[in-house]
């Protein structure tokens, strides 16, 4: 690998690059899809290639190829330099990077059982067994279950002497039951519809206990067909971790990406209400209970690594402390503009994409005092919302609306009857300021999504979210006409 990285970097430097880096990425993937007890598809994929990023005349250029040879390394470095010069014809501010020590070393995701070494028959068998349990429940129309694993070998080198090698493994699985009657289509999934994903080995899949959870979820899907429509009004809601992680993702993770604040994602996903003046003034993002950290060192998180994709070491960056907005997710280019060093949040979706500021593990810290169950017991009247069904938030990350698969009525500290089609909506900072309870460490779980989209051309990131469940007061629920 070193000969290829050196050839690319030498070529870039020879062509006038003030800085260049190259990433070689090989990706291995495996997926299993089951529908209604039937094996629908098994796929195995691999890709490899490299991308060269150069800074010439103060502007960026990037070129990438699947051909891993020295001639192509030279060609791509030259093309990247040409592209950078084209960029410089529409440049108003020269790019300046923060200083960081050269990155050197290696990192491997801790794993007990290599998921790619587990016999395929066993993985298929585990998934089919869970799917068939869900499908055996009377009233279930169809089931869908999935397993996926991804491993990346990432080599990073830069003109400052950095050279790192990483091996990152993520995997996940889900079982989903669908019940349909007339115009009503209800779904219950476990752990959620996108799958419970994490970093590690096959022990993570065993830990999910798909088999043990498939039946109860399927029974709920059927029960929802005859459940009462979620009432409209303002009430107390408790968000289960399976929904809370999505709330954190959309309303804290994305708005605290500093590239969005500076407008560089405006044409696609939008900007952010967390403008830099709010950092200076100590903006109140949430209640005193709310502390949120971007932590690339969290055990089991899909945002955990040794170095980000521009060679910045993994670290924990406070975003919200005791309710006050205190920091952003940053890069070497953006951090100096707020007088800070990079927080190490630059991540790329493979060899053919540039790194962007992406969430690592955005964790809502647990608060001592009550477990999630004790929070329910402490609630006289409200809704317990579980498992995300849909999500939407405006282009500055203020007005959000989520739907969950199920709501449980809470009366007198107990979860009772089901409501179907629950939705809730709010304004981000008003919602988090109305948070009056967060589960303690006993309820804390590391969740995440393998489908976080951003950028043009589009990129998909695997991100983690540590959450423990939380309660919010005076929330608008039951949105729309039903």
């Amino acid at each position: 690998m070193r000969d290829l990285t050196e050839r690319a970097l030498d070529t870039a430097a020879h062509l006038g690059a003030a800085y260049a880096d190259v990433r070689i990425v090989r990706r291995q993937e495996e997926s299993i899809a089951v529908k209604s007890g039937r094996l629908e598809g098994v796929a195995s994929g691999e890709s490899e290639g490299f991308g060269v990023r150069v800074l010439v005349d103060g502007a960026w250029g990037f070129a990438s190829s699947h051909r891993l040879d020295l001639g192509e390394a030279e060609h791509m470095a030259g093309l990247a330099a040409r592209i950078a010069r084209a960029s410089a014809t529409a440049l108003r501010h020269r790019v300046a990077l923060d200083d960081r020590p050269p990155a050197r070393g290696s990192y491997t995701t801790p794993a007990e059982e290599d998921p790619f070494a587990i016999p395929l028959e066993r993985k298929i068998g585990d998934l089919l067994a869970a799917d068939r349990v869900a499908g055996a429940v009377e009233g279930v129309t169809f089931t869908e279950s999935s397993y996926g694993a991804q491993r990346e070998w990432r080599t990073f080198a830069a003109t400052d002497g950095s050279f790192t090698e990483q091996e990152i493994t993520h995997l996940g699985a889900a079982v989903e039951a669908n019940a349909i009657e007339g115009d009503e289509h209800q779904r219950r999934s476990y752990p959620d519809a996108g799958g419970g994903w994490g970093a590690g080995g096959y022990e993570f899949i065993r830990g999910l206990d798909l088999l043990g959870n498939a039946g109860p979820r399927a029974e709920e899907a059927v029960a929802l067909l005859t459940a009462t429509q979620c009432p409209a009004g303002r009430t107390t809601v408790i968000l289960d971790p399976s929904q809370l992680y999505n709330q954190v993702h959309e309303s804290c993770g994305h708005p605290s990406e500093l590239d969005r604040v500076f407008g560089t994602e405006a044409s696609y996903a939008g900007t952010s209400f967390l403008t830099t003046d709010k950092l200076d003034e100590g903006f109140r993002y949430g209640s005193d209970l709310v502390t949120i950290v971007a932590d690339a060192t969290s055990a089991g998180g899909m945002g955990t690594f040794g170095w980000d994709d521009e060679g910045v070491a993994a670290q924990a960056v406070p975003l919200v402390r005791d309710g006050i907005f205190v920091g952003y997710q940053t890069s070497r280019e953006t951090a100096p503009r707020i007088g800070r060093g990079s927080g190490g949040a630059m991540r790329a979706d493979g060899w053919n994409r540039i790194p962007l500021i992406r969430m690592t593990n955005i964790n809502l810290q647990p608060v001592g005092g009550m477990s999630l169950d004790e929070i329910v017991a402490d609630t006289d009247d409200g809704l317990y919302l579980s498992t995300n069904r849909s999500w939407s938030i405006d282009d500055r990350r203020l007005n959000f609306q989520f739907a969950t698969e199920v709501a449980y009525e809470i009366k007198g500290g107990r979860k009772g009857r089901l409501f179907k089609n629950p939705t809730y909506t709010g304004i981000t900072y008003e919602f988090w300021r109305a948070c009056d309870a967060i589960g303690d460490a006993s309820s804390y779980v590391m969740l995440g999504t393998p489908n976080c989209g951003k950028g043009e051309p589009s990129q998909v990131a695997h991100v983690g979210h540590g959450v423990s469940g939380a309660r919010f007061r005076n929330v608008q629920v039951g949105v729309g006409k039903w």
Binding site: S65, S87, A90, R92, F142, E184, F262, T264, Y268, Q401
Partner: protein
């Protein structure tokens, strides 16, 4: 006049891709497959991105992918690789064979699609433009500068992207399918933002990048950015609306995703029933991969020729799109809407066109007594898929209309609205259409006037 004939395979990438697909199928059959299919995509894609009126990201990619469907009886395996040297292809076939030996039979496997009497499917002239294939970084930078100049002219900033791509696609299978084409596509989009809070949007997509007028798009977005300054709050509620084409493409895409698929119908999760009225008489939607008004493609990812499918005619559901497997289940032929295997999501209409009406843009707005003109939607997501209830936000240009005239900008609103109910309440269809790239594919849509749209929330900008 554009020719719609299918010539023999032309274009170096398409020919190379087809030769590779043939090679992979032969290797798979030699390794014990009873049926085999190879899909090869070879792409050169570039994108120049600008923000704050300067280019900040500028990328190119050269990529190739081989997707092998390896069948032993009813045991189906899929393996993919980006390595096309001998070792890479050997490993690909080995992995596929290993999977096929490990999996259960797919009871209702319908087999790979056949040739249907056709010979090799070639490309489609309307789907390729040399100017797009050869677009340079300097060409894209020039386009970005034109958009930025339009922003400069009115004192706003430009944020957008200009992309060009050239793609060779080939499919070969053991049932005799051989198909290869070379396609190009391009897109320019921009959000202009004023220092006083205004935002505007413009977009165009085309096979031939020279048909995209960067300066005109820049001026369109710039004018709207100025016109939306000092927006006022409006209470949520039901309002008649005129939806510009940028918003309408979300309706066609979402309905295509939720319902116009044979798999969605087979699983009982679609709203589609043949003969069921879901729209006003003014609404007709087809999927046609061969219509040069869109972003054409001659065949699908299973190598089946694209058929024109009428999805909605005069407001009435007519048909849905099929791939080979869903067609086999219904005793029909694929309509040429298969996606790369494995595909648990089923076929999708990725070349939708909504029929134009006869109402000029000004008259669409003039027909609103009191309502809203909406430029585009943002971050839409289904809340109830079978009823096609969708939530999302307005963005980059929302205006109050009174007495048929635009009276001023309003802050963005959230809606929670059944897209089916919206189609049923279409009262006028625009005379002009735009070619846009939605989340499903290339679409051609007009603006619509709809007599009620349910807004359920508001935001601060």
């Amino acid at each position: 006049m554009v020719s719609t004939s299918r010539p023999e395979v032309t274009g170096e990438r398409a020919q190379v891709a087809l030769a590779l697909a043939d090679d992979v199928v032969a290797r798979a059959l030699a390794a014990g497959a009873t049926e085999a299919e190879a899909l090869v995509t070879a792409e050169d894609a570039a994108l120049t991105r600008f923000a704050n009126s300067e280019i900040h990201q500028n990328v190119v990619e050269t990529n190739i992918g081989v997707n092998l469907r390896f069948c032993v009886g009813r045991r189906i395996a899929v393996a993919a690789t980006g390595r096309t040297d001998d070792d890479g292809l050997l490993a690909l076939v080995e992995r596929a064979a290993t999977i096929a030996a490990s999996v259960e039979e797919l009871e209702d496997w319908g087999g790979l699609p056949g040739t249907d009497g056709r010979g090799t499917l070639g490309g489609y002239p309307a789907g390729y433009a040399e100017a797009t294939a050869s677009a340079s970084p300097e060409f894209r930078a020039e386009g970005a500068r034109a958009v930025i100049a339009a922003a400069d002219a009115v004192g706003v900033l430009a944020y957008g992207s200009f992309s060009t791509a050239r793609e060779g696609i080939a499919v070969a299978n053991s049932a005799g399918i051989r198909a290869a084409q070379e396609r190009t596509s391009s897109q320019l989009l921009t959000v202009h933002m004023s220092p006083d809070g205004g935002t505007g949007y413009a977009e165009a997509a085309a096979t031939d990048v020279t048909t995209i007028d960067a300066a005109a798009l820049g001026h369109e977005a710039a004018a709207k950015a100025r016109a939306t300054e000092q927006a006022v709050s409006l209470p949520p509620g039901d309002y008649p609306v005129v939806l510009e084409e940028y918003a309408v493409v979300d309706i066609t895409d979402m309905l295509g995703y939720l319902g116009f698929s044979a798999l969605a119908v087979q699983e009982g999760r679609s709203f589609v029933e043949p003969g069921k009225r879901i729209g006003s008489e003014l609404v007709t939607v087809v999927d046609d991969g061969m219509d040069p008004a869109g972003l054409p493609m001659a065949f699908d990812y299973e190598g089946v020729a694209k058929q024109r499918v009428t999805l909605v005619e005069g407001g009435v559901c007519r048909d849905v799109v099929y791939d080979a497997q869903t067609a086999a289940r219904d005793g029909r032929r694929s309509t040429g809407h298969g996606l790369p295997a494995p595909n648990p999501y089923g076929p999708f209409p990725i070349n939708m066109l909504m029929a134009a009406g006869d109402t000029p843009r000004d008259e669409l707005i003039a027909g609103l007594d009191r309502g809203l003109l909406v430029t585009r939607f943002h971050y839409t997501n289904p809340v109830h898929p079978k009823l096609a209830i969708v939530t999302g936000m307005t963005r980059d240009g929302t205006f109050l209309v009174e007495g048929g005239k635009i009276v001023g900008p309003v802050r963005n609103l959230r809606f929670t609205q059944s897209y089916l109910d919206a189609l049923a309440r279409v009262t006028a269809v625009g005379r002009e259409r735009k070619t846009l790239r939605g989340f499903l594919g290339g679409s051609v849509v007009p603006a619509l006037r709809i007599d009620a749209w349910t807004f359920t929330g508001a935001t601060e900008h």
